[in-house]
């Protein structure tokens, strides 16, 4: 209801100051529209952000307060007890460590192999490169669910179920095409003369890769790592399918332990656990959000 109301009140009150200050009058029309769009943006941003703020506030509520109170109300008293219970119930530290290992491992493969494939496709070039590009394109369109049953069977037959690689392999494999694509479009910008000059100096393809391509790609590496980390850190489906033992559970699986563990869910402790597990990625995001936003924009707008 606030959205249409705002411009109306403005139209009524605006003329008075406009008489005394003529310059304002000229800007009145655009600012009317501007106010409306600001109100709409504010509402949408509230919808996007308030649930997360609410999550955090709830993690500081007492259990009694949560069960009886108005959900929008501010807590009557703040408590850190939920956090203590969250750490008692689960293995948050271990979950975070596992997520970290999986994210690092997958990112390492995605960056190194993505760069290598893009180097072969874009810089070295070969006869069937169009065909290979098409092959990699499949991985962008095809949903990950297709790989669950086959990988489960394959892992079972070579005893790879319930290991870090069982998560890292498909996560890296399905992210590889986009990474190759990003590196290819970056390699296009490296002038051919650079390579030709290096070739004349006697550098072979390996030295050129190590001395020219690799050092120049640092920015693209950061982009690829940031974008993929969001998805890998939060991966649920592969972890849920391939991991069974408590010691290997990543954050999404660890969080599930909080639900109905004792028949009744301890919501305030669960929300405390959620807040703890969100924090690492959120910090990275808030510190590096410029680079991340640029990466997301460039990654998709050219795809």
């Amino acid at each position: 209801m606030t959205a249409p109301a705002a411009p109306v009140t403005r139209a009524i009150t605006a003329p008075a100051p406009a008489d005394s200050q003529p310059p304002l009058r000229r800007r009145r029309k655009p600012s009317l529209h501007g106010t409306l769009s600001k109100v709409i943006i504010a509402l949408i941003v509230i919808v996007q952000v308030y649930p997360l703020a609410w999550l955090f506030i709830t993690s500081l509520r007492t259990e009694h307060d949560f069960a009886t109170g108005d959900p929008f109300a501010l807590p009557t008293s703040l408590t850190w007890e939920n956090y203590a219970r969250a750490f008692e119930t689960g293995n948050l530290g271990m979950n975070i460590l596992n997520s970290f290992i999986v994210t690092m491992g997958a990112n390492f493969l995605i960056v190194l192999l993505g760069m290598m494939a893009a180097y072969a496709l874009q810089v070295l070039g070969f006869r069937f490169s169009k065909f290979v590009r098409g092959l990699f394109l499949i991985g962008i369109i095809v949903p990950v669910q297709i790989a669950l049953v086959p990988l489960f069977i394959d892992y079972a037959s070579i005893n790879l179920l319930d290991t870090y690689p069982s998560m890292i392999i498909p996560l890296a494999g399905f992210a590889l095409p986009m990474s190759i694509y990003l590196f290819c479009s970056f390699f296009e910008y490296i002038p051919r003369e650079t390579y030709e000059a290096a070739s004349l100096d006697g550098a072979g393809p390996y030295r050129i890769f190590g001395l020219i391509t690799l050092p120049l790609s640092v920015n693209t590496v950061v982009t690829v790592v940031l974008v993929n980390s969001i998805f890998i850190w939060n991966d649920f489906i592969f972890a849920n399918t391939f991991v069974l033992s408590e010691g290997l559970k990543t954050i999404p699986l660890g969080l599930q332990n909080y639900i109905g563990a004792m028949g009744k869910t301890d919501w305030t402790a669960t929300f405390a656990a959620v807040c703890v597990t969100i924090t690492p990625l959120l910090l990275v995001f808030l510190v590096l959000n410029k680079a991340m936003i640029q990466g997301l924009e460039s990654g998709a707008s050219k795809g």
């Binding site: 769009s37 943006i41 959900p71 072969a120 499949i138 790989a147 394959d154 890769f209 649920f236």
Partner: protein, 293 residues
Amino acid sequence: MLPNRSRLSVLVFLLPPLLLYGVAVLFPIMQSLFLSFFSWNGISDMEFVGLANYVRMLTGDDIFWRSFFNALGYLAICLVLQLGGALLVASLLTSMRRGRELIKTLYLLPAVISTVAIAFLFVRIYSIEPVGLLNQLLHWIGLGALERPWLSDIHTVLAAVSAPEGWRFTGLYMLIIYAALLSVPQELEEAARLDGASRWQLFTKIRFPHIMPVWITTTIMATTYGLRGFDIPYLMTNGGPGQSSELLTTYMYKTAFTSTDFGYASTIAVFIVVECLVAVGLILFMLKRKADA
């Protein structure tokens, strides 16, 4: 092409990525295709059944069709929230002078949160006992009659599990569309404005046609992501109550790992892939026809 390259060096750079990609993506796709012609529970011998799985899926399985139409509903809600919301906010944002970076960051925030956390959050938002955010809000604005347990009401559960997915990624698409809108030439807009074009005309005649290629990309992205949506419905309702929020992906997952019917699950998985390919083809086809007309 690099002058001093050898055939060996191409292989050295290309084989390791192809190996990983083959093991993780290409080989499993073929295996699924293969398995879809068999009946197998993972323990006893595999039995070749020809097209029986496909016949069963397309003609004899009500749950399959239910899931298929649910998945289309889920997709529609996701597309409206993600692309509609993204286009609206991106357009409004271009007319703002300050605070653009802040709004971009805030709007993208939900994309950083894991699906498990989002599922927990929305379970509480929809809950009625103790009263959750949504029901409380409805009560306040005088729509108390609409209060309900959103996740156990069979009429609302599909929308309730779709909305979080739309909410989560709208920021991502907004960023992409916003970047495209910024690339619309200022002179073009200026000229149209001088000719007396309204804001709406400016948008439909100048801006939107200009961002068309990016719009196609985002539509394809959002559609393929929507068709593979799994985490949030699986975690929030596991397809229930009954089959009212069952999607093809959750149905396939349960067929594979609860009923351990690997053959039939692969058949459904193949169907999901075909569905994605058809959707991408349809989008490209429709847009091409529109462009030609």
